[in-house]
Amino acid sequence: MPWPLWIPAALGLALVVLPVAGLLLRADLARLPELLTTPAALHALRLSLLTAALSTVACLLLGVPLAVVLARARLRGVRLLRAVVLLPLVLPPVVGGLALLYLLGRNGFLGYLLEVTAGVRVPFTTAAVVIAQTFVAMPFLVVSLEGALRGAGDAYERVAATLGARPLTTFRRVTVPLLLPAIGSGAVLSFARALGEFGATITFAGSLQGVTRTLPLEVYTQAEVDTDSAVALALLLVAVAVLVIAIARPRAWEGAR
């Protein structure tokens, strides 16, 4: 690796590390244990981990196929679809939440249908949190996978076809395994985005302790009264996220062949 790369790389790293380090220095570390073990904090942490995990799974289940379709289908409209997938990326999360509310709320088209046919109301439930998180996080997975898919080409998929593998078999046994490093990064991105989700969640799902108040919402709430404890909570969020990602990332995602 060329050594001059280390200069911008170190700058980039500094941009990321220094602010967080500053935060750590400012945090009242003595009070941390106390702040972090309040029921509100614990509830929020549990809820955040649960919903972020669920929405990461949803992102994978919907996003991997979507990425493959966008990268491989030779349809006319695909270029347009590719742009459409970017929508939630740029929509301010609060507006995204509003959009979900308009769709799945009581007066929304789908929401009305759901309430009438199944008696289900989505907003203000934990499910709403998962939906909001999936909405904002999935495009990250899709876009990063699509890039990897196009870079990789389809030589091995062709080989699989000449060996008689049906497209679904090829997808399962060739496309996905070869894509694992990229799927890994994509999952990390979605998980992180879901874990940090705030605007869409509060707009679409509200903020009720134990039900819809995830850690970022708790951080915001706390920030109104006590910046220190908000910062402490944020650090908890960060620590948990980094731990989860560092530990849960399977070896295969590392791309070690």
């Binding site: 509003l98 009581r106 203000f124 509200g206």
Partner: protein, 228 residues
């Protein structure tokens, strides 16, 4: 800003967005060589920024508590002065389909009610009203700010929300207002102060005085704010 112009930077609470937009226009008409830059955000965020050394000349806050953090950080020149007050009101769908007439009605079964979280000023006020009136609400959500509460009511997701009177007015005909007497038990005060360490003490003082002046008082009343 042309040559010789002076710029005064005003940090104002988000709930003042509409009113201050007009106030600034009037002020600038009166002081042609002075320009006002508005920085609009939640009061506590603004306080944080000021404490961290933000180049603000005036702080107009939506709560005395946040103003206090700035005072304690030594950035307030003189004493903050209250220029407006605000009271809680109940926001309901247009035409009040559920026939809500009092604060106690909100505790009724089958109603989806949203309020502000107790950590933010409107939530704290709601809690005080609850205590004063002996009514216990079981909200579907404790929102981050008034805006979030209003959104839920506007979208029809909540049957009622407890917010400030000024906010309901700003939402126009998309919601109706239900006033209730207990609101007087938790009046919210809006203080304004000139900040230290600014390059523009003079125009900052002009602006503060302007806001505290009678012309603005009328304007604020029109937007639903009460007198101090």
């Amino acid at each position: 800003a042309g040559h010789g112009d002076r710029t005064v930077t005003v940090f104002a609470a988000a709930s003042l967005t509409e009113s201050f937009g007009e106030i600034v226009d009037e002020f600038e008409a009166e002081h042609p060589r002075t320009r006002v830059r508005l920085n609009l955000a939640g009061s506590s965020r603004l306080a944080q920024q000021i404490v961290a050394g933000a180049p603000a000349d005036v702080f107009a806050s939506a709560s005395e508590a946040t103003m206090r953090t700035v005072t304690e950080a030594g950035r307030v020149e003189g004493e903050p002065r209250v220029f407006a007050t605000n009271e809680l009101a109940i926001a309901v769908a247009p035409g009040n389909p559920h026939g809500i007439t009092s604060f106690a009605d909100l505790a009724g079964a089958g109603l989806t009610v949203v309020v502000c979280a107790p950590q933010v000023p409107c939530g704290a006020a709601t809690e005080r009203v609850e205590r004063a009136s002996g009514v216990t609400l079981r909200p579907a959500s404790e929102e981050q700010d008034v805006k979030a509460v209003l959104t839920k009511v506007q979208a029809g997701e909540a049957d009622a929300g407890v917010v400030y009177g000024t906010d309901v007015r700003a939402a126009g005909d998309q919601v109706s207002t239900v006033r209730f007497p207990e609101a007087g038990r938790a009046v919210n005060h809006y203080p304004i102060a000139v900040l230290t360490g600014t390059g523009q003490p003079e125009p900052a003082r002009w602006f503060t005085e302007f806001v505290l002046g009678p012309a603005v008082r009328k304007q604020l009343n029109g937007a639903g704010f009460g007198a101090p």
